[in-house]
């Protein structure tokens, strides 16, 4: 018996020793791989970090997608889901419809979370707190602009909400969304500085708020507000065009005087994959996910300002890229252009080279490939670019000003000045518009200018929606380059798609099916 007790004791002692040294109470585990909300919102740094998280959720490469599904772009492979938007066979369950909705509301939540909690921080630096609040409001307004432009009526969420409230949220009229945006940007602009320096460069400024206000007003058809807000940006004297359009999207011109709003990136820590996503296939098997089309290429005038369809323009179909608006070759790679790797871009079938149309599924199907953001500087590490993504630049402010004035029929010298400033930038060098144009002529001119100046910067889809031109431009087969097979001109016809746009419903995206299933009160857009 004694021995039994002894053995038992030994055994239990061993057990006890092991367990005592390993843990105190198995039921009280405290995580060390995350931060609890209980201990947050104490310092200014907490506020700063939380505001930073809204910036991190901003748009970047997804903007290529938006241009890619208009007439100026094409979804290069049939297995990229946006292909179904292009050919009109998409429905409310399409993942892109969900993704854009989700990203925007995540930004809105992040901003609401800051606005609701930031006053818990005990500080005397009210200016800083006001600045953070204003940043959050501007970024929230930016998200609402995208939602209004894509979906029309959307739930207007101004505070963090519970699941129950979320399941019952209803949509506000798009007009109310626009007026909310206007109010927010107006108020925030008053509290934001004209500029930031050093490690704060890239935060939204007074100019950002006003420029977004101008954009929002233009999109919503409030032209008086649009021109006034654009004018106030111009009057800040903070922004200007840089001399070279061709160097807008380079590291050297990050944070230049032309940048009004951008998503900032940094090599090595905070990167995007624009090069690998959009670059031509010969460049380290990059994706060419969305490619420019003939519709865009043909819109570029000759250097003399005349359309290529004008018999006196001097356009020679055998040398289609010579003497054109220089922005064409700043925006896209055309036959013969040197690529980041040093080789020339050779898309013409049968001519050899890695970018020949049809050679692989990833090769450009139109014979064009995007050049903006596909910079030689990123070739070495093509999946991790640190190039800032410009979300608003001064050229757009000028064109917004001009368009808003034209729509109000307030045509004066400032309108011509604004457009001409863009056209005559030193490395663009197009002739200035001749004064005395009619409102309709000017409207056509400013619209063309917007397409060409801002191509593949995420603006065009919203423009053709508000211009109501999508039903004309987004139809029929997608065309690519024209090349010569002997003496016969051959225009590339993308083999797999007919662009389809149904004016009765496609001017707005549907409410995502998943969201509508969770909350039927959201209803659905007309036609869907």
């Amino acid at each position: 018996m004694k021995r039994n007790i002894k053995y038992l004791g030994c055994f239990l002692a061993i057990v006890g020793t092991v367990f005592q040294s390993c843990k105190k109470n198995v039921l009280e585990t405290i995580p060390n791989d995350r931060v609890s909300s209980e201990i947050y919102w104490k310092t200014e740094a907490d506020a700063r970090y939380a505001v930073n998280s809204i910036y991190a959720n901003l748009d970047a490469t997804n903007l290529f997608v938006l241009d890619g599904i208009t007439e100026i772009g094409h979804t290069n492979t049939v297995f990229t889901v946006e292909y179904n938007i292009e050919n009109g066979t998409y429905d409310a369950s399409h993942s892109r419809i969900q993704t854009e909705w989700q990203t925007a509301y995540r930004s809105i939540f992040l901003a609401n979370y800051v606005l609701e909690n930031i006053d818990k921080i005990k500080t005397t630096n009210t200016a800083l707190i006001n600045q953070f609040k204003s940043e959050a409001r501007v970024l929230r307004a930016y998200a609402y602009m995208k939602l209004a432009g894509l979906y029309g009526d959307v739930p207007l969420i101004k505070t963090t909400i519970t699941t129950t409230d979320g399941l019952a949220a209803t949509r506000s009229k798009v007009a109310d969304v626009w007026s909310f945006i206007n109010k927010e940007l107006t108020e925030a602009s008053a509290l934001l500085p004209n500029s930031f320096s050093g490690a704060d460069r890239g935060r939204v400024t007074k100019g950002t708020a006003l420029a977004l206000k101008a954009r929002a007003a233009l999109w919503s058809g409030d032209f008086a507000t649009a021109s006034a807000a654009a004018k106030s940006v111009m009057d800040l004297n903070v922004y200007n065009l840089i001399a070279e359009y061709g160097k807008l999207f380079t590291y050297a011109n990050e944070n230049s005087v032309e940048v009004v709003f951008d998503k900032q990136f940094l090599v090595g820590t905070n990167t995007h994959n624009a090069f690998a996503f959009m670059g031509p296939y010969s460049q380290k098997s990059s994706g060419s996910t969305f490619v420019p089309t003939k519709d865009l290429a043909d819109l570029y005038t000759m250097k003399n300002g005349k359309a290529i369809t004008d018999a006196t323009s001097g356009f020679d179909p055998k040398t289609p890229y010579t003497n054109r608006d220089p922005r064409m070759r700043f925006t896209m790679y055309v036959d013969g252009d040197p690529l980041p790797s040093g080789i020339p871009f050779k898309p013409v079938p049968g001519m050899g080279g890695g970018d020949e149309i049809g050679k692989t599924q990833y090769n450009t199907t139109t014979g064009f490939s995007l050049k903006k953001y596909v910079s030689a500087e990123d070739f070495a590490n093509h999946v991790a670019s640190g190039l800032n993504f410009i979300l608003m630049r001064y050229a757009e402010v000028l064109l917004t000003y001009a368009e808003a004035k034209i729509e109000q029929n307030q045509i004066d010298a400032t309108v011509y000045d604004a457009i001409n400033k863009v056209r005559t930038r030193s490395d663009v060098g197009l002739p200035a518009l001749v004064t005395g144009m009619t409102q309709a002529e000017l409207r056509a001119a400013v619209r063309r200018e917007r397409v060409l100046e801002l191509a593949f910067e995420g603006i065009h889809l919203f423009d053709i929606r508000r211009w109501k031109t999508a039903q004309q431009v987004m139809t029929g087969p997608v065309k690519g380059i024209t090349y010569y097979s002997g003496t016969t001109p051959v225009t590339v016809l993308v083999p797999s798609v007919i662009k389809t746009f149904d004016a009765s419903k496609h001017y707005l995206w549907p409410i995502p099916q998943k969201e509508k299933t969770l909350n039927p009160a959201l209803g659905q857009n007309p036609g869907w």
Partner: protein, 1012 residues
């Protein structure tokens, strides 16, 4: 931590050494156990001294040695024989005990939670599978071995890459939502009292497996038992002289999947039609002259056949397993040691697995009242795949017209510049090496003759090293002038360690007074799990052979990350059994569980269960009925169990770090990433079970039936949230699921003659339905428009297939004009999707349930025949009323550059074929292949899972060559299947979706079994 556990094990070993020197002398009882029917020795019979924990087992010659003295009462029992109790009259003389064949298996001892029970006295629903039935079929893992063996246990075997599990186990259906990251419907696996994984356990080490199904059997495991419990008991040493045995096999594996591509000319002409129908220009490849040159070509490098991967890349691959075991001991110490070596090649290049393991189970009788058991199991498991996870995807997608491998060693490249053979052979590797160490010490102390105390402490240490090296390489396809480049080589290495410590303290009491028998159990258990992980990444190594992490580029591309977590469980539990006259049986269980996953008042929960049985056949009136029924029992049970598999720390809102940058300076960011729910608590599972068991016709026929109703409420669900909240999901207690069903077993055996046989069948019917979602939902879940879509909706089975209903094809222009269509430009031959809500549009609002991915019926039929030295057995297994949604290239009928099934040829819509199987060919237009009932395929199947023929070498020959017994066998696995999926060339156990998984295999095995 690791060193601490090593210390523990060392200490235990040293202690054993110490105790060994103190062993005491005692009289021993010797004997031999033989079978009454043929006088052959009975191996593995259990011999115990009554009223003591002392016990041993007979060796292969039927011999045993047991500590004891004259006057002791010993019990001899063995499965298949009636137990005998003998009083030792003279301990000095050797005994010969002749065991009669059991009339039935009711005397079998069944392992239940924290104990054992005689089958006859069970009041709950438990299926037991003997080790011998598990190793009959050569399998790479135990999950596969359990398939078809027990009603109510559904094992969906998806084959899987060597060394990586792809089997899904469900006991009585799906009880919870797979939506949350750590929760699932897999049963709790307990091996020798400790939670472990089943997947890598050596089948040869298994003595028995119990499947606990109803709540009365599982409630003792409380919060982890909602999905049922699988109890595994491993083999232990037997006393007597050392027994050595070898059990090994060599097998050839072959793919079961073999879909065939449409023929060359058919395919090319089909493409012409598809382009024409879509109004598209015919590409150069499909012009008439190109088609002609392709058809007549002899140089297939230049004019490759489309898509030959299933035929060219897959190969027959060997698999082998070798087990050695040694067992022996005496009254004081018994040991079983086993070694296992298993090697499995993949059916495609660079896949493979390897297991080496050692187990030592040791029992020491420290004193007549004290037994110490120490078990150690070490296992090294290596599994290897190519770096590219895309190999099998590329069998089907985007690799048309690529030549597998040119004579010069380069690979042909498709339009998508891919080639699965190239990816398998050149992409690099992904290896997972797992070191698994299990150590357990257990002490049984007989305080009083009726009262036994047990203490067990164990550690399970799982240490995984992962290494994934991507080769940098360039493949230039000279014929097509296409290049595939991986510019940079990369290396990702991971180290993950997980330690789980378990302590169990049990107090067992049993007392028999006249007709009353009372047994009680009181227990306390604690579990502590803690893990850490590290991973590191670098790229651009000097060449593909330099693979040490420090040799990669030392710049901003290097990266590392880590994880750390812990959780605990603390529980008390009890069980009481009462039986009167072996007629009326009652049992009650209760467990009180506390979990670190919850907080506040929700931390603890109580799980009770009750059950009872009535052995009608023991009643006097029953005898008077003179029925051909020898045993009849009815039983019923009710109980509650729980599920705690909520993601850790769900109960508070947490913020995660992110990164941003301003003005070229890195900046930190923090954002709330999870919604908090401090009220989160256990899932509760209420289960009622009614059962009937009978033995008929002189025990030749056995029968059982169970009806169960299981309701899981407060299901922990990663509830999809409306994203206007800023979140996409959060874990909450929401929802109720019901599982109701029937289970039947029927067995017939005849052991009377030289020709002996046994047939056992089982059938389970499960009905699963979502009852309530707390006003939330329905939740629709699919990752990509063209892939399977599931819905969780009240009134439907969990995760039902969800999509359009269809009504044939539009047949003519009038038809098109008169009915809404899914997209503009509809033509005759397009699928007519049904406008269910009659709003004149085909939209997502027209979706409906179109199938159930979980089988309603599962069944198995096993059979043994033996005649003289030969024995033959087979296992049929299957499922019915299960729906599979195929997607991807295999069903996309040539719309994109994917595999196009042979079946499509001459079976698509034309005006002459208005009811063809497939719609109008259309290039690049997916309108007809979105999820609809057309693409739901009946996944029912009946499969000859295994056939084995075995020959026992006659004893006379064995004796001559100096061994005690030897058997040789041949067997085949997955030989024959009846299924609708056969015409697709796919395995019926496959999951819905794209058939891009490592294929299920069939095995042809040659095995040898020797007892030395």
């Amino acid at each position: 931590m690791i060193s601490k556990h090593k210390k523990l094990l060392l200490t235990v070993w040293l202690s054993i050494g110490l105790f060994c020197t103190q062993l005491y002398a005692q009289t021993t009882i010797k004997g031999v156990v033989i079978s009454a029917s043929d006088n052959k020795p009975v191996e593995g019979a259990t011999v115990t001294t009554k009223g003591s924990v002392k016990g041993t087992q007979t060796n292969a010659n039927g011999e045993f040695v047991l500590a004891g003295k004259t006057g002791d009462q010993i019990t001899i029992s063995s499965i298949g024989y009636s137990s005998q109790v003998i009083i030792i009259k003279n301990a000095a003389s050797s005994l010969t005990i002749s065991l009669a064949m059991a009339k039935n298996d009711l005397e079998d001892v069944v392992v239940v939670g924290y104990g054992t029970q005689k089958k006859v006295s069970l009041t709950s629903s438990v299926s037991q599978i003997k080790g011998a039935d598990l190793v009959r079929r050569p399998v790479s893992n135990l999950q596969q071995a359990l398939q078809g063996q027990a009603p109510g246990l559904t094992v969906l075997d998806r084959g899987g890459e060597p060394g990586r599990s792809a089997a899904t186990m469900r006991i009585r259906g799906i009880t919870t939502f797979s939506g949350n990251s750590s929760g699932n419907s897999s049963p709790l696996i307990i091996v020798d009292g400790v939670e472990q994984t089943l997947f890598t356990l050596n089948p040869e080490d298994v003595e028995s497996i119990s499947i606990l199904k109803d709540a009365s059997s599982t409630a003792i495991y409380g919060s982890r038992a909602a999905n049922g419990v699988v109890l595994v008991t491993t083999k232990r040493g037997k006393s007597g002289k050392i027994q050595a045995s070898y059990n090994g096999y060599y097998a050839i594996q072959q793919s079961v999947n073999s879909p065939e591509m449409m023929g060359l000319e058919d395919y090319m002409r089909y493409q012409v039609l598809a382009h024409t129908n879509q109004g598209l220009a015919i590409p150069a490849r499909y012009t008439e002259s190109s088609i002609q040159s392709w058809i007549t070509a002899t140089d297939r490098e230049k004019y490759p056949l489309p898509n030959t991967w299933f035929q060219t890349v897959l190969k027959a691959a060997p698999q082998q397993s070798h087990n050695f075991s040694f067992s022996g001991g005496n009254d004081f110490s018994r040991t079983r040691v086993s070694f296992r070596y298993m090697d499995q090649d993949g059916i495609a290049a660079n896949y493979g697995a390897n297991i080496r393991e050692l187990r030592m189970n040791n029992d020491m009788q420290l004193s007549p009242k004290l037994k110490l058991s120490t078990d150690i199991n070490y296992r090294y498991n290596l599994s290897k795949t190519p770096f590219s996870g895309d190999v099998f995807n590329r069998f089907i997608h985007g690799t048309l017209f690529a030549y597998p491998k040119y004579a010069d060693g380069t690979y042909g490249l498709s339009q998508q510049t891919s080639n699965p053979l190239m990816l398998a052979e050149k992409s690099g590797y992904n290896k997972i090496a797992t070191h698994y160490l299990y150590g357990s010490g257990k002490l049984d102390y007989e305080i009083l003759p009726d009262l036994v105390f047990s203490a067990q402490v164990s550690a399970v240490i799982n240490y995984a090293e992962t290494k994934a090296f991507q080769n940098a390489y360039i493949n230039y396809d000279a014929i097509n002038a296409r290049t595939f480049t991986v510019a940079n080589n990369t290396l990702t290495e991971g180290r993950d360690r997980n330690t789980e410590l378990t302590t169990n303290y049990l107090l067992n009491y049993s007392k028999k007074l006249n007709k009353h028998e009372l047994r009680g159990l009181l227990g306390y258990s604690e579990l502590y799990n803690q893990g850490t992980g590290l991973s590191a990444y670098r790229e651009r190594f000097y060449n593909n052979d330099i693979q040490s992490i420090g040799q990669g580029a030392n710049d901003a591309t290097k990266n590392n990350s880590g994880s750390e977590y812990k959780y605990g469980l603390r529980s008390g539990f009890t069980r009481i059994n009462y039986s009167f006259d072996g007629k009326y049986l009652l049992e009650g269980n209760a467990r009180y569980d506390g979990s670190s996953r919850f907080t506040g008042d929700n931390q603890f929960s109580f799980f009770p269960s009750f059950s009872g049985a009535w052995r009608i056949s023991k009643e006097k009136f029953f005898d008077d009925l003179n029925l051909p029924i020898s045993d009849l029992k009815v039983r019923g049970s009710w109980g509650q169990t729980g599920n705690q598999t909520v993601p850790l720390y769900s109960y508070f809102a947490s913020l995660s770090q992110g990164s941003y940058s301003f003005g070229g300076t890195a900046a930190q960011s923090f954002s709330q990433t999870g919604l908090a729910d401090p009220t989160i608590t256990w899932e509760t599972n209420d289960q009622t079970d009614l059962g009937l068991e009978a033995q008929l016709l002189d025990n030749k026929l056995s029968f059982s039936v169970d009806y169960y109703k299981k309701r899981t409420s407060g299901i922990l669900l990663a509830l999809p949230l409306p994203v206007v909240t800023g979140f996409t999901s959060s874990t909450q207690n929401a929802g109720i699921i019901d599982n109701k069903g029937w289970e039947f077993t029927l067995g017939f055996k005849n052991n009377q003659h030289k020709f002996q046989y046994a047939i056992n069948g089982n059938l389970a019917i499960n009905n699963n339905m979502v009852i309530d979602l707390k006003g939330a939902g329905p939740f629709i879940n699919n990752s990509y428009e063209l892939d399977p879509r599931y819905i969780v909706k009240v009134g439907l089975p969990f995760n039902a297939h969800w999509g359009y209903k269809t009504d044939g094809y539009f047949q003519n222009a009038a038809d098109v004009a008169s009915y809404p269509s899914i997209a503009p430009g509809t033509k005759p031959g397009d699928v007519k999707f049904v406008d269910l809500n009659k709003d004149g549009k085909i939209t997502a609002d027209d979706w409906a349930m179109i199938g159930n991915p979980f089988p309603k019926y599962t069944f198995g039929l096993s059979s043994d025949f033996s005649y003289k030295n030969f024995s033959l057995n087979f296992l049929l297994q299957g499922a019915a009323q299960v729906d599979t949604r195929l997607s991807g290239g295999i069903t996309e009928i040539g719309i994109a550059e994917a595999f196009t099934h042979k079946m499509v040829a001459n079976n698509y819509w034309t005006p002459e074929r208005p009811n063809a199987k497939f719609p109008l060919p259309r290039k690049s237009d997916f309108r007809n292949v979105g999820t609809s009932d057309r693409l739901i395929i009946d996944g029912s199947y009946l499969r000859l899972k295994n056939v084995q023929l075995m020959y026992s070498i006659p004893a006379s020959i064995c004796k001559k060559i100096g061994i005690s017994a030897a058997r040789v066998y041949v067997s085949g696995t997955n030989l024959f299947t009846i299924s609708k999926l056969n015409e697709w060339g796919l395995d019926p156990e496959a999951d819905s979706g794209r058939a891009t998984y490592y294929p299920q295999t069939s095995l042809y095995t040659y095995g040898l079994n020797i007892n030395f």
